[in-house]
C-alpha cells in the first residue's frame, strides 16, 4: 500500500521527466555537431582551395618569388614562408576567411550547450538507479523467506519506496534545471541560429566562387571556337569530363539551404522549450522538430563538406 501511494507522484512526474527528451536532445546535439563539422570542414576547404588556386596562379604567371626573413633566422621559431613578390599578388587571406574564423566562438558555444543539455537528460543514471533499487528490493524480500518473519516484506517495501523516491527527486531536479535553462536560452539560440545559417551560406557562396574560377578555366577551351578546332577528340572528352565533374560539385553545394537549417535549429530548440514550459512531456512537435533539424543539418553537411570529400579537386 505504501509503495502504491509512493508510485502516484512517480507516475505523475514520469510524464514530464527530463529523460523523455533524451532522444530529442540527442538529435539536437547530433544536428549541432553536423553544422559545426560543416562549418569547420567548409572553412578548411576554402583555405585549401585558396592555396591551390594561388599556386596555380603563380605557376601560370611565373610569379617572382622569395623567402621570408624567418627562413634565415636560425634561432627564430617563426614560420618560414615562400613570398609572392608581385605587387598585384592575390591576398593571403581574404575578407571571407577572416570573418569565418571570427565566427568560431558561436559554433563552440552551441556545441558546448548541446553537450550540456545531453548531460542533464542523460538516462544512464536513471536506469542504473532503477536497477539498483530493484536489486535492493529483491535482496531484502529474500529475507522474508529466510527469516520466516513478518517484518521483511515491510522492510523490502520501504527499500523500494526509497529507491522510487530518489528517482523522483533526481528526475524533478533534472527537469527543473532543464526547464529553467531551455526557457532562458531560447531567444539566444534563435539569435545564434541566424548566425549559423548566415555563416554557412557565406561558406557556400565562397566555395561556389572558388569553384567558378575553376569552372571558367575548364569551360574555356570548349567555348572558344579557335581552341575547339585544335582539340583532339580525346582532349575534348577529357575537358568535358573535368567540366562535368565541377558542374556536379557546384550542384551538390547548391543543393542545400543553410538559412533553412539555421531556422530549423532554432525551431527545434523552441519546440523543446514549449514542451517543458507546458509540462506535457514528450510531444510529437518536439520529436518532429528535432528530426527535421537533424535531417537539415545532414543535408548542409553533405553539401558543404561531405565525408568522402570529392570537393578537394586540383584547381589546375
Amino acid at each position: 500500500m505504501i509503495r502504491l501511494l509512493a508510485l502516484l507522484p512517480l507516475a505523475f512526474l514520469a510524464a514530464c521527466s527530463p529523460y523523455v527528451y533524451d532522444g530529442e536532445i540527442g538529435k539536437f546535439s547530433a544536428g549541432v555537431d553536423l553544422v559545426t563539422d560543416a562549418y569547420k570542414g567548409g572553412v578548411d576547404d576554402i583555405r585549401t582551395t585558396r592555396m591551390a588556386l594561388r599556386t596555380n596562379d603563380q605557376v601560370q604567371n611565373k610569379a617572382r618569388l622569395g623567402l621570408s626573413q624567418s627562413c634565415r633566422a636560425i634561432e627564430g621559431r617563426e614560420e618560414c614562408q615562400i613570398l609572392d613578390l608581385r605587387s598585384d599578388k592575390p591576398k593571403e587571406q581574404d575578407d571571407a576567411e577572416h570573418a569565418l574564423n571570427e565566427v568560431e566562438p558561436v559554433f563552440s558555444a552551441l556545441h558546448r550547450y548541446a553537450e550540456a543539455l545531453a548531460a542533464i537528460t542523460k538516462a544512464d543514471d536513471d536506469k542504473a538507479l532503477t536497477q539498483a533499487g530493484q536489486e535492493l528490493a529483491d535482496s531484502v524480500s529474500g529475507l522474508a523467506g529466510a527469516a520466516r518473519g513478518g517484518g521483511a516484506p515491510t522492510v523490502a517495501a520501504g527499500a523500494g519506496l526509497l529507491a522510487d523516491l530518489t528517482e523522483v527527486y533526481l528526475d524533478s531536479r533534472r527537469l527543473a534545471t532543464l526547464k529553467k535553462t531551455v526557457l532562458a536560452t531560447d531567444h539566444h539560440i534563435e539569435v545564434l541560429s541566424k548566425i549559423v545559417g548566415i555563416t554557412l551560406r557565406t561558406i557556400q557562396d565562397d566555395r561556389l566562387r572558388q569553384l567558378d574560377i575553376q569552372l571558367s578555366a575548364a569551360i574555356a577551351p570548349l567555348r572558344d571556337e579557335k581552341k575547339l578546332a585544335s582539340l583532339s577528340p580525346d582532349d575534348y572528352r577529357a575537358d568535358l569530363m573535368a567540366t562535368q565533374a565541377l558542374v556536379d560539385e557546384v550542384n551538390r553545394i547548391k543543393a542545400s539551404d543553410p538559412i533553412a537549417a539555421g531556422n530549423v535549429l532554432a525551431a527545434s530548440h523552441h519546440a523543446l522549450a514549449e514542451a517543458v514550459r507546458s509540462d506535457k512531456g514528450q510531444s510529437m512537435a518536439v520529436f518532429q522538430a528535432a528530426t527535421g533539424f537533424l535531417q537539415a543539418a545532414g543535408k548542409v553537411k553533405a553539401a558543404i563538406h561531405p565525408d568522402t570529400a570529392n570537393g578537394q579537386k586540383d584547381p589546375s
Binding site: L100, V103, D125, A132, S139, V191, I195
Partner: protein, 115 residues
C-alpha cells in the same frame, strides 16, 4: 538595426550584383564574346558578393544581441554541466549505498539459514 535588417541590406546588395553577373553570363555565350575578360569581371563581382557576406557576418558578431547571447549561453552551459555532475554524484552515492544494504541483507539471509 536588427539582425534581420542587416541580413536584408546585405541580401539586397548581393542580389544587385547577381543581376549584373547574370547579364554578363548571357553575353559570355554569344559568338565572338571575349570570354576571358567577362570571366575576370564576373570573378570580381563574385568576390564583391562574398565580401558583402563576410562584412555581414562580422557586423552581426559585433551586435550587442549576439554578444549577450554568447555570454548567456556559456553561463547556461556551465550551469547545466555542474548540475548534471551533482546529480550523477548523488545517483552514484545512492547506488553505492544500495549495494551495501543489499550485501548486508544477503549476509543476514545467510546467517538465518545457520540459526
Amino acid at each position: 538595426m536588427t539582425l534581420d535588417d542587416i541580413d536584408k541590406a546585405a541580401t539586397q546588395a548581393v542580389q544587385d550584383l547577381k543581376s549584373a553577373i547574370d547579364k554578363l553570363s548571357d553575353l559570355e555565350n554569344q559568338p565572338g564574346a571575349d570570354g576571358a575578360a567577362i570571366d575576370a569581371r564576373i570573378a570580381q563581382l563574385q568576390q564583391a558578393q562574398v565580401t558583402i557576406r563576410a562584412k555581414e557576418v562580422t557586423t552581426l558578431l559585433d551586435t550587442p544581441e549576439v554578444k549577450t547571447a554568447l555570454q548567456d549561453l556559456a553561463t547556461a552551459s556551465a550551469g547545466l554541466t555542474a548540475e548534471a555532475a551533482n546529480l550523477t554524484s548523488i545517483a552514484n552515492a545512492i547506488q553505492t549505498a544500495d549495494k551495501v544494504i543489499a550485501q548486508a541483507a544477503d549476509f543476514t539471509k545467510a546467517l538465518a539459514v545457520l540459526v
